[in-house]
Symmetry: C2
Subunit: 338 residues, 2 copies
DNA sequence: CCCCTCTAGTAAAGCGGTTTAGTACAGCGC
DNA sequence: GCGCTGTACTAAACCGCTTTACTAGAGGGG
């Protein structure tokens, strides 16, 4: 009388059928009568059997898992609200399909490709999420070469057969600029994210385009890095430079939040002397003084759709690009007329 | 000429040995001569072979993966800096041992136990991290019953055989109270975390003990929930109540940060009229105005040691409790003499 | 020279599923 | 009665490793 887990053979014996029949019954395939199927499922339930994921994985050459590798600087890894929320959305889909998420967090960018290679080589996952796309992202070619299915968050700048799940960032920035221009601002600056990231570039371009559209002179653009320290430095340059803007559009909340402090130290009042907008709508954004006008994107929904798309792709369906509702501007108190 | 992945049989054929010999050579076991071992490893390298994780998992009944299930309210899931950082530490250890991390994020607390059960039933992981311990945490019994190895972050309040990785929170709070008392504060309040969490309780007790130790009257304690909204509400109650404290010790940064805004709205200056301390040392903490005095714990190191401990436990070593350097107070500008 | 032990290696049996090839039988048309 | 088709099911191969049981041969002791 051992208490090892029951196997398919135990179920077969109890139901008086072969292992194959149990497998068929379990997977809802034809070749077993309704009566027999019921008997088999009964026996399985009675024994508390559920198929061994490991055995299944070996015999079907599938991992039943999806991968996500996140590359982040150590100081930024905890500050970014996107990932946990995105992952929560992914999980919602995976849980009900008995799939798992294997996560890799690398703080060293060099380790990123190694991460994907490891996931692929070990056959840990059936597909991966490609986030934080960069200019001419080498991961696209890498994944196509090793034949690992992927979905991208937004469209890469290189041709690819991977489906994209698109959530338009740009129009959040556009809305912010329009909002500021509508308030009467003309000297509007932008603190962008680091160069290689496509979302940083997209936001910067959206800023430039919106300025043009509003018939305003091209605003100053300062380089940030999505960290509070970087946001502080960029803001300081803008506020102490020759042409002090009356409004600044930030590429994320963390930088915008740190700007409020810089302004306070310089005796510049927000929003009276300086309007500020963020991006992300972090939990804190609505609870600082003044509450931050910011752009909100549905990270959770993004995760859900990305997971569905990736699973469909792995199932062999020709997955098409999906477009989600665009990011929207949340008006709060950090913006006002100049 | 197929281009399927090479298997152990291919390597064996090329090296002119049996599959068993390859397995022995790979795993560094005795029974192969140095000469043969070299020949085998050569052949493996030439073929670009690495053992199939799936096959290994099935034949050894191991998953070569560790699990983490994070239960968080939707609004808090992105705001907590602890997890990503902790996970980065875990990964550092796992990567070099070819182990994976499977993550589950559940926003519904009821789904938490189901999460562990699923990981266990499907044999997805060999062990799990037990974080956010609660009073009389039911997960301990659950995991002991299903026989899934675990390590706990700090010690639970119920007896258990699972090793704990201990990082003393309390002394960070103690240091904060001492610091404030040393500055001359006597009316010090605490905004604690939600009831069931052991770390919230520990911080609250540390606060109470430190107040006693400083020979101060027991300070007011307001219930928070670790969110900005909760912090705001608690702070508002304290600052508009009958005995307005001159200093408030918060159980996390997010609540402390939102307090700065509440104070500003009420015309209370920080730190002149009100001193504030946080907990976590989030990226933003040093970049708000005034910069936040807070408590820093090494989440990354915690992750590393927790992973090492869990792997040792799974390997059958009797893993002992480990104690890490305690949390330390980081002095900034949000505290001053009353 | 014989027996014993030790080393280096092989063959084959798992691990627990899926899947393919094959079989037994019923039903049907003629 | 015979061949044909379709259904329900079984036996066995297979996925790619690990591990056990066994063997051949070398070396050593007496």
């Amino acid at each position: 009388m051992s208490n090892r887990r029951p196997t398919i053979a135990d179920v077969a014996r109890h139901a008086g059928v072969s292992k194959g029949a149990v497998s068929f019954a379990l997977n809802g395939r034809s070749g077993v009568s309704d009566e027999t199927r019921r008997r088999i499922l009964d026996a399985a339930a009675r024994l508390g059997w559920s198929p061994s994921h490991r055995a299944r994985a070996l015999s079907t050459s599938r991992a039943f898992a999806l991968g996500l590798v996140v590359a982040r600087d150590p100081e930024l890894v905890g500050a970014d609200p996107f990932f946990p929320t995105f992952i929560a959305g992914v999980e919602k889909v995976l849980a009900e399909r008995d799939q798992a998420l294997v996560l890799q967090v690398v703080t060293n960018p060099a380790a990123e490709e190694a991460g994907y290679l490891r996931l692929a080589r070990e056959g840990r996952v059936d597909g991966v999420f490609l986030v934080d796309l960069r200019r001419a992202d080498p991961r696209i070619a890498l994944l196509e070469e090793i034949g690992l299915p992927a979905v991208t968050l937004n469209r890469p700048d290189v041709p690819t057969r991977f489906p994209a799940v698109i959530l338009d960032d740009r129009c959040g920035i556009t809305a912010a600029v329009r909002h500021l221009a509508g308030l009467g601002h003309t000297a509007i600056a932008h603190v962008c994210g680091p160069e290689p990231y496509l979302h940083a570039i997209a936001r910067r371009e959206a800023f430039a385009d919106a300025m043009t559209e509003a018939r305003l002179p091209a605003g100053q653009v300062e380089q940030g890095d999505f960290t509070a320290a970087g946001g502080r430095a960029a803001t300081h340059r803008l506020l102490t430079g020759p042409d002090r803007p009356t409004a600044i559009v930030y590429a994320n909340d963390l930088m915008a939040l740190s700007a409020i402090a810089v302004a306070a130290e310089l005796g510049i009042r927000v929003p009276d002397d300086l309007s500020i907008t963020g991006f992300d709508d972090t939990d804190l954004a609505g609870y600082v003084h003044p509450a931050l006008t910011t752009v909100r994107a549905d990270a959770r929904g993004w995760g859900e759709v990305a997971a569905q798309t990736l699973l469909a792709l792995i199932d062999g369906q020709r997955a098409a690009d999906t477009t989600l509702p665009p990011a929207e501007l949340i008006l709060r108190r950090s913006t006002s007329a100049p």
